[in-house]
Symmetry: C2
Subunit: 499 residues, 2 copies
């Protein structure tokens, strides 16, 4: 007979199978499904989600958790139990009514936003958004009440869903330093940007680009026997063990953006492919948090692919694949990819300005959820912060200001910081790799990336969720997440034009 | 509050959502999934199947059925309940042990067959196959015991899973007539085949073929907003409301086979797309049986696409799409597609000889399940029947004899007859359409097929499972399924070379 902990393992593995079904049905929905299928698909996914929730919140599971907690468990199983409890608690702490109300208000607000954004209609948006914020605050309070010892503010309870283990105080501390140093660095960049950048605009047939992107993935260690590349409106990555699916998007007039997106998603897939097989299907076998997930994608995108030496290597492939690109050197491509221009839109932002977009959002959403700021005041504070951090104004232009992102429309508060903590983690991890492999430019210059993958697999991927995020960072790099390595990287790339 | 019948509707609609999930996960498995995903996928599908079975066999459902049966129900709901009971009874009448044993023995036998077939190893196959037959006999007895008033023999209880409503006595009767007339017709064909057939072999790029096949689907009324065409090892069709997915396969050296396969699967998809929306998700809203399903695919393949007038029309598209086909007239393509050669392999058989392959299998599997024949005697009786029906011998060549099909390896006895009853239904339905539209050749000759789709939608598709198969046939064509229209069609096409 199985003991309580073993029963729990079985229970969570069965839940993982329902998650597998939802994962691939959602992938299909975004990548393959014709429009006519949306109604039946939505109903099927909702049914699976309901079955999943029902099983995760079954009273029997709570009892098993209580029993297992009294068992003598070794460290590995104790940790595994902790992660099960985390998943379970997140599900049981919200009432079914709140979940339903949130989902309805979120759909309504997101739906309205699609036209309101275009029409710069903040007032119309606010009409729906107020309820989304009210419900998110209620959610935050409920989540905090379930674990008052862990969450010092309501916002922290939402942040924890994405940045698990990195709390708002820690993030504020790191961001403060970044906010102090970035504008100064940004001021110095324009003088160091090369004159007469090559214009990479041209005509690049989509089929040839697709082949080129597959080549890039193979160079970056992606295994096509255990995954796919497809095209979708927004690049994303998803999948399950042995089947990692990433998407990218192509435009005929350029080739760099697609390669960057592909490298980025290949990094996400790499993390997932390296998760520990022995705890497959259990919460402890999953990726630690989004801050580490994003660090892997950004490491592949910004530090591997976009490094001067890798681009020098890969430029040969580009020239082979795309006749109109024959005239470009590695230097041309690298310089064009590493160009800095402050702008209003986060998703178009370069590596240097991106964190300022995120810090602005972090500060606003934190105050919003902690009820230190009301929705009606967002446009004004957004404009103030844009002026302070990037010297740009969004006054009267909410389309390119506080209406630009989808995240808040359905109440996903707490997600934004993971982008920048991810960028800091990526730089810090790659700095550690550089220290261990001083010949890294030569290696990347001949297209060798396995030393990076092996290092990451050992230090990050194989850990799954068996350690806290900052334990992983400390063991891997010698310290917890901080801005130093990232700033040093920006300095080297954008001031010294070194790599 | 819902009454018992309404509760049942809700219950079955929820089951349909799990079926939706399994449908598209299986599609993905065959069309998209990389090899690395097979383990996780198999587990996920097994989990969904278990949840489906658990819900379908829940005691509560049996109670609701009992209650609903006592309710005053209108004809429509009474019929709907009948179909629910059919689905439910099929699930509850087998023990979990038998289902599991059958699945294990089937997997083992099918797996071994993949090499045993190649190696002409009947003895090795028999080692596994005996258990498959024993378990299928046990299954047949159990299914028959659940409805002794409906099934006069054990075989009928298996046949009913595929040919629902068309029992073995009815099928035997129809096949007897066919068996009497076909060989004679077959004897006369060679003299009527045209001399000097055009050789359609050439080089036809796959991308161009894919575009051509999409064009064919559009000509046949397929809506790409509600479906897809993809490539798989064996063509098939699947899907759900608003999302009908068919696959085909291409070879670079020919283009006719792919077009025939695509037309065939488009017919399957057409039936599904025309099922009644108002009973969506309920058993009564499904396709009636495989004999009618196959009739729609064969009608699209053999009577629409392969008609002389449609091919004359479509040949223009072929010549536009495939430069190497520019030299072929509609007549060339039609003659090549309508060539008869008796052979050993069912799936390569032409329209005239195919039924003889099926009748042979029907007679053997019926006697096998009814314990009038033992597995060990199959090769001998196979050879005897091949000699009698097609004048060919498989003595010592089981690879191309009784080892050629996958169906029996996992115990799917009762499936084969649907191919030929489907062919008879197709000819009979199309004869009725021809009677109603005497200008059918002119219509097809200008690529018009909507009159056929509209007729089928009204007479077959929209009926779902609200009538028995032979009621549908009688209302649509004036009589129950018989061989006359099929033989007349063969006569017209292969002796008179008319259409």
């Amino acid at each position: 007979m199985l003991n309580a902990y073993e029963e729990l393992e079985k229970h969570f593995q069965r839940l993982a199978r329902i998650e597998h079904a939802m994962t691939f049905l959602q992938w299909d929905q975004l990548v393959m499904m014709p429009p006519g299928g949306s109604e039946a698909r939505a109903r099927a996914i909702a049914e699976l989600a309901a079955m999943h929730h029902e099983r995760l919140t079954a009273p029997q599971l709570g009892e098993l958790i209580g029993e297992a907690d009294q068992q003598p468990l070794d460290t590995v199983r104790r940790r595994s139990l902790l992660e099960m409890v985390r998943v379970w608690r997140r599900a049981v702490c919200l009432s079914a009514d709140l979940v339903k109300a949130k989902s309805l208000a979120g759909s309504k607000c997101e739906n309205g936003w699609r036209t309101q954004r275009r029409e710069n209609d903040w007032r119309g948006f606010l009409g729906n958004f107020r309820e989304v914020v009210d419900l998110a605050r209620e959610e935050a309070r409920a989540r905090r009440a379930a674990e008052p010892e862990r969450f010092t503010t309501p916002y922290d309870a939402l942040l924890d869903l994405y940045c698990t283990g990195d709390d708002s105080d820690f993030i504020r501390h790191v961001f403060t330093e970044l906010k102090r140093q970035l504008p100064e660095l940004l001021d110095r960049v324009p003088d160091r940007q090369p004159e007469g950048l090559a214009d990479l605009a041209g005509t690049y047939p989509l089929e040839a680009q697709e082949r080129l992107n597959r080549k890039l993935m193979t160079c970056l260690g992606f295994d096509f026997n255990a995954g796919r590349l497809d095209v979708s409106l927004h690049p994303f990555s998803t999948g399950d063990r042995g089947d990692h699916r990433i998407t990218t998007r192509f435009r005929e007039t350029g080739f760099v953006d697609a390669l960057m997106a592909t490298a980025h998603e290949t990094g996400h897939a790499a993390y997932e492919s390296g998760l520990p097989a022995e705890t497959d299907g259990l919460p402890v076998g999953r990726a630690r948090n989004l801050c580490l997930h994003e660090s892997q994608s950004l490491l592949f995108e910004k530090h591997l692919f976009q490094s001067r030496s890798f681009i020098d290597f890969f430029a040969g492939q580009v020239r082979n694949a795309l006749p109109s690109a024959r005239k470009f050197s590695g230097g041309d491509i690298w310089s064009a990819s590493a160009h800095v221009t402050p702008g209003l839109i986060r998703i178009e932002a370069d590596e240097v300005t991106y964190p300022l977009h995120v810090i602005l959002r972090f500060e606003i959403e934190r105050d919003l959820i902690n009820a230190a700021l009301e929705p009606v005041d967002i446009p004004e504070i957004w404009d103030e912060k844009m002026q302070a951090y990037l010297g740009l104004s969004t006054r009267g232009n909410d389309t390119d200001g506080c209406l630009q992102d989808i995240h808040w429309t359905d109440g996903s508060f707490g997600y934004f910081p993971s982008y920048t903590i991810g960028a800091l983690n990526a730089a810090q991890l790659f700095a550690a790799i550089r220290r261990q492999y001083p010949d890294w430019p030569e290696r990347l210059g001949r297209g060798e990336v396995s030393f990076v993958r092996d290092w990451l697999e050992e230090k990050v991927w194989r850990k799954g969720a068996s350690m806290d995020s900052q334990e992983i960072m400390r063991e891997a790099t010698g310290e917890t997440t901080g801005p130093a390595a990232f700033l040093e990287h920006l300095h080297a790339r954008y001031l010294d034009r070194a790599y």
